[in-house]
């Protein structure tokens, strides 16, 4: 981390803080009286301001300062939270983001307008005699005029490792006014147990002068989450400022009553302070425990902060590439070992196989992230759209903990934006119409994720009017996508929604109706090797289900042989395997099977791939499913499961759609991965999905 541009670090941190701020503000909209939320928002603002100033984002700092000032009134309960306040705060948050990302393109006038609006809301809500708030509303704070402060400082032990220099912070305190600094030695372990990198000291500081609470807090801005800071105005406590022994830490009792003068370096400072403290038999247990408790409660919001670390996404990609290579090399080793009778070699091969499988699973799990972070982004979208369109909408999410490969999640953002927009703009009716059809005036959008087999299904469901099949069909005919009168099932009609430029909206709104988007949704999902299902019920709403693979990099495959070629089928698509019955063996036989009463058509891979040689006398049919449709693929032999590291095919093979990629087998040769969806879409199978269902219904 140290070799990174600190500004990059700030940007990453600020992004996180802004996300947290947004979530908090939205929560605040729902629970206006939750003071914990107000505090969280205030803390986020404060940190953005502080780090912004530190890294030279002066406009960010200045704007955030004013924003924070206004918000402080809310925090102190002088101004109630209101929907309008939340909205302005959200736009202020957006403004901060643009200030950070592209300060030059941001006109200050926008910021001024936001602040003016904020001020108007805040001052109107405030008690009438109060003048419109001044830029520095801390002024009325009576504490500021206090004679000084009693400051209790207790750091978390690991702050030194995080690069904090407590002595420098104490020096900063000294700059605010004359200080008396007394260390707390109660937590000091014996010399033998002393870890020079962990901080056992705390301090009690008596600061004289007119420093404000804020100025003192600012000194500790960057370690605020890792410490307990207590501030007591001097006037509030017994008038014995020169007797720091009175500070409520029992162990401080004897040795060092002198102010600790600047000491050369932090580590040596601890050691030297520790030596005189040693003889006085400290009762370290109790204060340590209470200290830990206090710290625990103060940091309760982020208990695991120290146990995670940031890693660049590219490094994870690299790691996965390496693991892919390893899995391939291991497969070759296993195959080689299988040909030798050497027991030692086989043991090692098995050991490596086990280890590489574990390594693969671990690596894959590192890349898996819960989809919740993505979902929470859409709360804002729904909030804004619902306001803009005048359609009250509740937004419900389910399955936020569902994990997906991070690449998949990143690429899902845009399609979901389109789908949610469509659901609100087209799906949900306006409140009046909902009223006449007996529905609750408030619409409902559900965004849900769940694991289904080897896939993740992400659903966007609205409780709106449902799709109008006749209108979609009329539009498709008008645009020449289908000849009038062609018999089409509803599912086939829905597919027109994904045609480029297709829109049935009677009016073009700012949001949708231009027909841009759904084709992009389809393309993105297909690029992720996923598929889209639409179900709709007139009057009850529409659900769009995105079916996605768990990962893009390694899949479980079924290895099959066709002629002399070996191919991989994604196991997630495989439903079952049966032997090809006698009736299907001749090339002119019936090309469908009876699977428990359903007619399932099948495709002979031998003829599709123009395989050489004689067909196996006992060919197998692998039944695969694509969406609702089932069909069979006839292969010569089923070779078994295969851990498939997916390699993309070269651009030069872009014209070959039968295969979604390739993989490398144990003997080092390449094998192609069959894409069942493409086989079906390419018309290789006689019937389209709904045609299939018709077959089955007939049967």
């Amino acid at each position: 981390m140290t070799d990174h541009d600190p500004r990059e670090v700030f940007l990453a941190e600020a992004n996180e803080l802004l996300d947290r701020l947004e979530t908090t503000l939205l929560d605040l909209g729902d629970r206006p009286d939750d003071s914990a939320l107000i505090d969280t928002a205030f803390r986020a603002l404060h940190t953005i301001k502080g780090s912004g100033a530190m890294f030279g984002f002066d406009r960010v700092a200045a704007f955030t300062h004013d924003f924070e000032t206004a918000f402080d009134l809310v925090r102190r309960g002088e101004v109630p939270t209101s929907a309008a306040l939340v909205n302005v705060s959200l736009s202020a948050k957006d403004y901060i983001r643009t200030l950070i990302e592209d300060p030059d393109a941001t006109a200050p006038v926008i910021g001024e307008a936001i602040l003016a609006e904020l001020e108007r809301l805040v001052s109107r809500a405030k008690a009438p005699p109060e003048p419109a708030y001044a830029p520095e509303p801390e002024a009325p704070d009576p504490e500021a005029t206090a004679a000084g402060w009693r400051i209790g400082i207790a750091f978390a032990p690991e702050v030194l490792r995080n690069g904090t220099n407590p002595l420098a912070l104490l020096d900063e305190l000294r700059d605010l006014g004359p200080c008396t600094v007394v260390p707390r030695l109660g937590n000091l372990p014996d010399l033998a147990a002393l870890d020079p990198e962990s901080l056992a000291l705390g301090w009690d500081v008596t600061l004289r002068g007119s420093a404000t609470r804020e100025a003192i807090e600012d000194v500790f801005l960057f370690v605020r989450d890792d410490m307990v800071l207590t501030l007591t105005p001097l006037d509030d406590i017994a008038p014995a400022p020169d007797a720091p022994v009175a500070v409520p830490v029992p162990a401080v009792a004897a040795p060092v009553a002198e102010p600790v003068a600047p000491v050369p370096a932090q580590v040596s400072a601890q050691v030297s302070a520790q030596v005189p403290a040693k003889p006085s038999a400290n009762p370290p247990a109790k204060p340590a425990a209470s200290e830990a408790e206090r710290r625990g409660s103060a940091r309760g919001t982020e208990p695991r902060a120290a146990s995670t670390m940031r890693v660049e996404a590219e490094r994870l990609d690299e790691l996965l590439d390496r693991v892919g290579e390893l899995v391939i090399a291991q497969a070759r080793l296993s195959q080689l070992a299988g040909h030798h009778a050497d027991a030692g070699l086989q043991t090692i091969a098995e050991e490596i196989e086990r280890l590489s499988a574990q390594l693969r699973d671990t690596t894959m799990s590192i890349r898996m992230v819960p989809i919740g972070a993505l979902f929470s982004r859409f709360r804002r979208l729904v909030h804004d759209l619902s306001g803009d369109l005048g359609k009250p909408v509740t937004f419900v999410t389910e399955g936020e903990e569902t994990e997906l490969d991070k690449t998949v999640i990143e690429r899902l953002a845009d399609p979901l934006v389109h789908l949610i927009r469509n659901a609100i703009d087209h799906g949900i009716e306006d409140p009046a119409r909902r009223g006449t059809s007996g529905k609750d005036a408030t619409g409902r959008i559900l965004l849900a994720a769940e694991h289904v087999g080897g896939q993740v299904h992400v659903t966007v469901r609205d409780d709106g009017a449902g799709l109008d099949v006749a209108r979609i069909r009329a539009k498709a005919e008008e645009r020449g996508l289908v000849a009038p009168g062609t018999p089409l099932t509803d599912q086939q009609v829905y597919q027109f929604l994904f045609a480029p430029g297709f829109s049935t909206a009677q009016q073009i709104s700012a949001l949708s109706g231009r027909g841009v988007g759904m084709d992009v949704v389809k393309k993105t999902i297909e690029a992720l090797r996923g598929s889209i299902d639409i179900t709709t019920e007139p009057g009850a709403g529409t659900a769009i289900v995105l079916r996605l693979p768990l990962t893009l990099a390694i899949i479980e495959g079924l290895l099959i042989r066709v002629g002399d070629g070996r191919y991989v089928l994604p196991l997630a698509a495989v439903e079952e395997c049966v032997e090809l019955p006698e009736s299907g063996r001749s090339e002119r036989g019936r090309d469908f099977l009876n699977i428990r009463g359903d007619l399932v058509p099948f495709l002979r891979l031998r003829s599709l791939f123009e395989a050489a040689g004689e067909p196996d006398p006992y060919q197998k049919v692998i039944i695969v499913s694509v969406g609702e449709a089932w069909f069979g693929l006839v292969a010569d032999q089923i070779l078994g499961n295969h851990q498939t590291v997916i390699k993309s095919l070269s651009k030069l093979h872009a014209d070959v759609t039968t295969f979604s990629g390739a993989t490398i087998l144990g003997d080092g040769t390449a094998a192609l991965i069959i894409d069942p969806a493409q086989l079906m879409a390419g018309g290789q199978i006689g019937a389209a999905p709904d045609g299939l269902r018709d077959y089955r219904e007939v049967a």
Binding site: G565, F609, S650, K651, L652, D655, V656, A662, A670
Partner: protein, 153 residues
């Protein structure tokens, strides 16, 4: 490749890998050649264009195997002990792409004197002119500098 052509146009001599494909001798800029390997098992790609009918595993990458004999109307011959796969890197729409090329025999890396460069004759060859960048003379032989992008796409 572009560098190569530029260098030719500026009249410098250039390092090339000389190889025989069918009855003809070809020269490829040494800069675009990644490696030359012995033939390895190939995997047929059903439905691909004939000159790109296979893929091979080159150091963990699945790379198309290009047989340009088909493009030049040459008879396809079985592999001989001299057959090599020449792995080259091409720029396709801005993406560097690896392609393995079947060569009947690979000769040495040599410098061709570019003064001997001649434009591809409009007649006297059955090949489509866009496949040929130019023809240079190396010793007594005429050597084709092919335009691999045009040939493969």
């Amino acid at each position: 490749m572009t560098d190569f052509v530029e260098a030719i146009e500026q009249g410098h001599a250039l390092q090339v890998v000389m190889m025989r494909i069918g009855p003809e001798t070809f020269a490829l800029g040494a800069g675009m050649v990644r490696e030359i390997i012995d033939p390895i098992p190939t995997t047929r790609v059903a439905g691909a264009r004939p000159h790109l009918g296979h893929v091979v595993n080159v150091r963990g990458n699945v790379v198309p195997l290009a047989d340009i004999r088909e493009r030049f109307g040459m008879p396809l011959a079985a592999a001989t002990p001299d057959t090599r796969f020449v792995v080259i890197e091409l720029d396709l729409d801005g993406d560097p792409t690896l392609v393995a090329l079947v060569a009947d025999k690979v000769f040495e890396v040599t410098a061709v004197a570019l003064v001997s460069r001649q434009p591809a004759p409009k007649i006297g060859t059955a090949w489509r002119p866009e496949y040929i960048r130019s023809i240079v003379k190396s010793g007594d032989d005429f050597v084709i500098i092919p335009d691999m992008q045009a040939i493969l796409n």
